[in-house]
């Protein structure tokens, strides 16, 4: 850290210091980037369809492995979390779910970090975990 005291990517990515909302912020970034890269790969993967059955099957073979299935389960989890948390953010960023502004009284408890918001984050993480397990059960025929 130089004299500008900018924390940089390390500070931005450090989810530990400020509670679950900061963890959700970090997860939203990671899952967003992950989904974008998966999407680009998925478009490339499906384009093999145009080269006929043999090309499609050989591309499919790459993903029909244990690692491929685990990767796909991760994508399912990322997708569910990003959707759930994204809806929470859209509602919150429109200014809903905080109640009214009021005169602050000590000890200060910020309305923006209320239980409803925290619960939505936990539900998003929980749903993502459930979706991943379901995805794994489908892919591994459990």
């Amino acid at each position: 850290m130089d004299k500008d005291r900018k924390e940089g990517i390390k500070g931005m990515a450090n989810p530990g210091r400020y509670g679950i909302e900061r963890v959700a912020y970090w997860l939203m970034r990671i899952t967003g980037l992950g989904l974008l890269f998966y999407f680009i790969g998925h478009i490339y993967e499906t384009s093999s369809l145009l080269d006929g059955k043999a090309a499609w099957d050989s591309m499919l073979e790459l993903t029909q492995t244990t690692e491929g299935h685990i990767f796909l389960a991760l994508v399912i989890g990322m997708c569910v979390f990003h959707t759930g948390n994204g809806i929470r953010l859209m509602v919150a960023q429109a200014g809903f779910g905080f109640g009214k502004a009021r005169r602050p009284d000590y000890p200060y408890t910020p309305s923006s970090l209320n239980m409803k918001n925290k619960l939505c984050i936990y539900v998003s993480i929980g749903l993502a975990a459930l979706a991943m397990m379901y995805g794994l059960s489908v892919m591994f025929h459990v």
Partner: protein, 121 residues
């Protein structure tokens, strides 16, 4: 870019594309389950049959556009926050726009050709 379109308009597009894309992704996944099993749904013939259904091809095209717009705008936002400066910010904005257009064009090619049956035997 901010001279052409206000950031609030870009973000409204960001939110809207996310909401609509979620609906289409649900349809896309549900279609996988109409083929019996997950593995069967990925058979070459099943996938080609999907593409030849015009309504489904439209869903795929819409999804391609919506997710590309949302995804590359998200990437633009992350990159703009990492570093600042006019040249860098213009490069990020127009780079993301170009990548988005390229991906949409590449994906559309697959959808159009597959739905028209222009697939190698």
């Amino acid at each position: 870019m901010s001279n052409i379109i206000r950031e609030s308009h870009i973000m409204k597009i960001h939110y809207l594309t996310a909401l609509v894309a979620v609906g289409f992704v649900i349809i896309h996944i549900m279609i996988r389950f109409t083929h019996g099993s997950f593995a069967n749904s990925l058979e070459f013939e099943s996938v080609i049959a999907n593409y030849k259904s015009i309504p489904y091809a439209i869903v795929l095209e819409a999804m391609l556009i919506l997710i590309s717009v949302h995804g590359f705008n998200g990437l633009r936002i992350i990159l703009l926050e990492l570093k600042q400066g006019n040249a860098y910010e213009n490069a990020v904005t127009y780079g993301c726009l170009a990548a988005m257009i390229a991906l949409i064009a590449y994906g559309s090619r697959t959808i159009i050709m597959a739905s028209m049956g222009m697939v190698e035997a």
